[in-house]
Symmetry: C2
Amino acid sequence: MNIEVQDTAAAARTLRASTRSGRTLRTPCFAPVATGGALKGVLTTDLPDHAFDLLLSNTYHLLLRPGLDVIESLGGLHRILDWDGAILTDSGGFQVFSLSGTRTIDNEGVSFRNHIDGGLLRMTPESVIDAQERFGSDIAMVLDVCPALPATKAELTHAVDTSLAWARRSAAARTREDMDVFGIVQGGFDTELRQRSALATVELGFDGYAIGGLSVGETAAEMYLGIEATVPFLPEDRLRYLMGVGRPDNIVEAVSRGVDLFDCVLPTRNARNGKLLTRAGFLNIKRAEYRLDDQPVDAECTCPACTRYSRGLLRHLYKSRELNYYHLATLHNLWYMADLMRDIRAAISTGGFDDLRAEVCRRYAETEPV
Amino acid sequence: MNIEVQDTAAAARTLRASTRSGRTLRTPCFAPVATGGALKGVLTTDLPDHAFDLLLSNTYHLLLRPGLDVIESLGGLHRILDWDGAILTDSGGFQVFSLSGTRTIDNEGVSFRNHIDGGLLRMTPESVIDAQERFGSDIAMVLDVCPALPATKAELTHAVDTSLAWARRSAAARTREDMDVFGIVQGGFDTELRQRSALATVELGFDGYAIGGLSVGETAAEMYLGIEATVPFLPEDRLRYLMGVGRPDNIVEAVSRGVDLFDCVLPTRNARNGKLLTRAGFLNIKRAEYRLDDQPVDAECTCPACTRYSRGLLRHLYKSRELNYYHLATLHNLWYMADLMRDIRAAISTGGFDDLRAEVCRRYAETEPV
């Protein structure tokens, strides 16, 4: 992956990255999550033009359904997602540790019962790289061990050591020149472990680095500590990816600490639950006060939900569980995220990033504390 | 409503109708159903341009949710549906008789417990016309009594007589010059009752006439008998509307008997259940044979599902219950209906309607008997 620095504002930076496959990412970049081969409720052709450079899809879910043979028969993951931009696939590590009731980690890999039909599956560093190469992913993640927090020092150390051994094997398993592979730094909030994990992972020479093991239930302050304990040990000329983050205030804070790349189900999942993202913070469309409200959700937003539908109408569609509600609300939240990331990039380039960061944090803390 | 005959092919006819509100219907016309103020899974802005002239929405559902005050506060039914074409609202009669467990018909109207929270509601011919005027409907239906079939002669006679009395009161209740009101003919398959109901309803002078009380579980042959027992007694210069029909083969058969207008949940509901409408008849997307099938659902269809997605991918999205499946499948079935109605109109005008009718009946009978 080739990186071109556009501008910086203290630690915050805006880059133009080119994947080995020839696709472009403008950072800071947010990747919507298309879990099982689809954005939930929105076709890629419904997204605003050039708003997103990257989608994330989940290796674990894709292997279960539709399965590798279907993906290959139907032309690969870009065809499945109907998406010509870049695709990042995670390694499945996080899902194995969060969704599987029973799992066994050995030195070779992890065996687990899947959450759909309880069937036994096995993932190894090599099988996960192979799957992502066969998907046709632009950016692949290595299989890592992602412990639940809080964890003991011994648990964190074991996760770091196993993740490093697997990262080495992942690097060796690569066969495609046109797929970027990112390493993942573990270590919880332990600054010493974070540093060791970061330096040793960077030593292996990946195309980018994820700050893993965060956004698993810790406080925002703890998450920021984990970022601060990692970023200084990552190279300037590689993307830094904070996995599973999401909230607008968390994003601007992480950007201010040098993070380039994000993914999260928050905008799409929150939309389905009635929680809309606006320039004034969270708006809960369920509330009775919106029943007769003819105003748009966010007057500055240009999405179809805001330009053609009112709060009262969206509330009605939500209460009636109309499919169109999920579509419109998801579109809106994604539109908001696209605007936010565009505004962040512009503010880093032209000044005013600190003001934008303060405004976003204030609005989101007012409407719901982190 | 003003009617201009374009062409005829035996009893089949293609008309251009102008509503009192100034909107145009090209017939034979199919109205998709937007039950509670929304097409399920498809925004009106997603529909192919100029494919549909008319949407149907349900007075019963709209009165329950979002309610008349919300509809009025949010700018009326055209704003709710985000639709500038014509809107027909039914009277709620059918839902009162099909959805309510307990109901009491008296001479004045009908009292019933609604199917959502069991609350007591009352509808009278006058209240139903008033509601539709306040919705801003282009075409309103009178409140009628729609008995379940089979019914005794006494039940059918009572339904015809009560419906006639209510139709007279509905006509007297009109206050808006810019809303068309259609009468509804009842009488089951009893030719004598159908004739009496038709002649007496026409005597009241409505803007159009519905053939009511059909598509309630009878065979196709019985439905065609009901149509044949009604159409000869309806005026040439008024639209003839077969309520609740739906299947492509039923539509071409009804058109051949002089019907102009249709509505049905079939294309949208079938889509959600995995049953797709194609030029080769029904296609059940659930079937295992489509698992690796990279072909489109219908190679002649130009909808987004057929031009951008494969059978295998739609099957995956269906099996995963992805929201996008419902959207794509619904779009496809509506696209098919739009193409079918366009082809019917063209065939009546330029010849070949009998061939089209035979082909549609053969394909749909082969894939599923009526």
